[in-house]
Symmetry: D2
Subunit: 253 residues, 4 copies
């Protein structure tokens, strides 16, 4: 049975930290959050994973291929670089949403996010046996979005982006998938078990509801980095006009 | 007449860059985007401004107090650190949304976001005379959000956050304000001209529609950094239970 | 009387930190040291200063123009970004070496570098009145060093660089100057009060002793950033063959 | 036959870049150099290697275990993050100095460091077969250096550090070793083939010549990261007073 492995990464006691001894400048918090994400992305991706920034103080990673020991090492490196620590929960399941629930439960079992004694905790389980590792990722973008960027007020486009995100999150959730905004007009869905037909339908409904046409590359592989790569390549082929369809699927050999 | 000054920051020809010669790894793009934002935040905030990550390839900054020369210097420093360049448009108006429209138009006048010859362009106008500089910022968060974090699946909370964001964006827009997600359960609105009564109403409607209670600190100052600071202090006072109201306003002397 | 202002920046209790609970990986320490330096450089230079990496756990900055309040703010921002804190001593004098002695004494007055209770301490005095601020910087490089890089083993060139550094440090010290290695074949001296004739003599002796010809741009200004800029411009003019001399002096109006 | 593998990393056409179109601010160059080093260190060390900052525009790495493909990937990631590119030469030999010569020759074969057409070039050979990989590293520090830091002017200590470095570089070179300064009072030598007796003699002579006592941990392993770890652990044991000797050797099983 093929499973996706999700890691929830949570900054320990972050809320209280941001206001001790008094509220820290918002610019500093933004800088810290960005750097923390960049470093976690670097570390997870060097091992084949991929991190989504999510809520920034709570990040979600696809971590197939990373052992508990790998997670532990990453936590230790964060301690050596940042004024905050991170706890992690790891979970796996056939469906991304379910893996995320398992990961959250594992994390919550280590204590409250505001417990000052909870530092660099790690709990959960990885995919066993390793040949069950499996990741499906959809990389989507908006058709002709340059036209929007070049003619509409920036903020208006952002509002549209946010509506697309809400729509996609809700629709994918019905099938156990999770959607993240990646910047620009790019979205990525963790989509294990969601087939092409469902995607076609979702994009069709999106057009009806929001008047926006999108295209999608679907990549499948044993590791997130490779699934994302295949998805981006598939999307690029559609962009380049090599295909008439708005969805292409690529699967690791 | 008091005016807010908005800068639109756009990565030049970013779309094509991300797929040349072939699609770059998503992890690398995320790292670049995070680092670029962190550096722009550092530079704008050291001059009293504040940057919102927005679409990541298109960022929005409150830039009151920054001259065109300051913008130019920041652009040059980005060239010296990153493999990409940024163009900027600067605009001012009484209402944040209008200032953003002016900034976008200034930027668009320098050429298309996909024009390979458009590099480090700068256009627009700053607030004149400087004593008209004025910034109002609302810092909002969700009541008892720790409870959500500690009991609900992370992704579910994120979906809720996104719905709150969409709601706030739409409602503030009616009054010319702009809303940005700052991570965790934090939102910031650029709100020049939106008074306490309107805020109370919006938060009341939010509760009706999404069942979520929020509180808000409103800061007013000549610079974004200071307005944000006052807003965060006001919010912190409510959090600390020093006040029974869910909105506090603080204004620079 | 024109004075240079020097800040000694010392990581608090760094030695013990690097081996707690057990020796941290050398790669992590190098990454932390580099990032800490990059951030301090960013902050000091945005205010017109310049930081030399020196011993890495002890850095030296030319800080003319920075108030004690500026120093305090930088310390607070370091706390918000790094797992370590820095204490600082500030001193001024006519001669760079003497200013550095004053800065060191101020720092040492706040407690031992290994005292776990000494955190983010600040002591010393800045230049008063501000019109006495004065910085002289020499930017030097090796003639035809590309030839070395392209034909000699890298490590051999590095040994030569180190011998040049030791020679320059000792000779400049006699006149109260301090020399720092800046990477490549570049050296910068903080040289208040050292005139062209002395520089000519030092470079002549260097050639006799080590067989290496160097050239030098000398910049003078009220702030380090500007003095360094003038020095680099002067050096660039010699490189470009616009001058037959191997020393050019540029002074702020 | 056990061999060390050295990679020379050279920024392409860096000299001209620093003065185009006019000399870039020294602070910006320092920030770029620090960040480039931090990222290269991150990447090499995640694969078991270790990078020395050396001349900053020319860095030296111990790269046993890294394939040519690994080097290629690192080069590509640098392109995606920085405004400069790096070329690399890889060499191996029994002695560190000889491996460095081979690496330099490989690099030089790809063109001049100032050739604008030389970008992200890679040449040389890795250790074959892999079971011949071997790294020996000495981690040294100065006894009672806190006393110096807490009582002497910072710059004076730095001059002493530099004299120690020159002494160690010259003495190790006779035996084919290379020495690098790591910050604080720390030095690391790449020392394949240099035994304990030679180290004892060098430290004894150092005391005679400069009046400074040092201690040394010697680590031996198949990868640089592990050899450095063992060396640091050995040094830490001496510091902790667990041993009467000033040299301890630790070897990977």
């Amino acid at each position: 049975m093929r499973k996706i492995q999700i890691t929830v990464i949570q900054v320990d006691c972050y809320g209280p930290w941001t206001v001790t001894p008094s509220p820290k400048p918002e610019s500093e918090l933004q800088i810290l959050q960005s750097r923390l994400y960049a470093d976690l992305q670097e570390k997870f991706s060097s091992l084949g994973g991929l991190v989504f920034q999510a809520r920034q103080d709570n990040m979600l990673a696809i971590s197939n291929g990373l052992t508990m020991e790998d997670h532990r090492r990453i936590q230790m490196e964060i301690v050596e670089r940042f004024p905050v620590t991170v706890s992690m929960g790891v979970g796996c399941a056939e469906k991304p949403y379910d893996a995320q629930v398992a990961a959250t439960l594992a994390l919550q079992s280590t204590g409250s996010s505001r417990n000052p004694d909870r530092k660099s905790k790690l709990a959960g389980t990885t995919v066993v046996p390793p040949d069950e590792d499996w990741v499906e990722i959809v990389h989507m973008d908006v058709n002709h979005s340059t036209l929007l960027t070049d003619t509409k007020p920036i903020y208006e486009t952002q509002l549209l982006i946010n509506e697309i995100l809400t729509f996609l999150m809700k629709r994918m959730l019905r099938h156990g998938g999770m959607v993240f905004y990646m910047g620009g007009d790019n979205f990525m869905a963790v989509s294990n078990g969601i087939d092409e037909k469902v995607l076609i339908e979702i994009l069709k409904d999106l057009k009806l509801e929001l008047g926006v046409e999108m295209k999608a590359g679907l990549g499948k592989a044993r590791r997130a980095a490779n699934a994302a790569k295949l998805a981006s390549q598939a999307l690029h082929e559609i962009r380049s006009g090599k295909s008439r369809t708005n969805i292409i699927v690529k699967c690791e050999d």
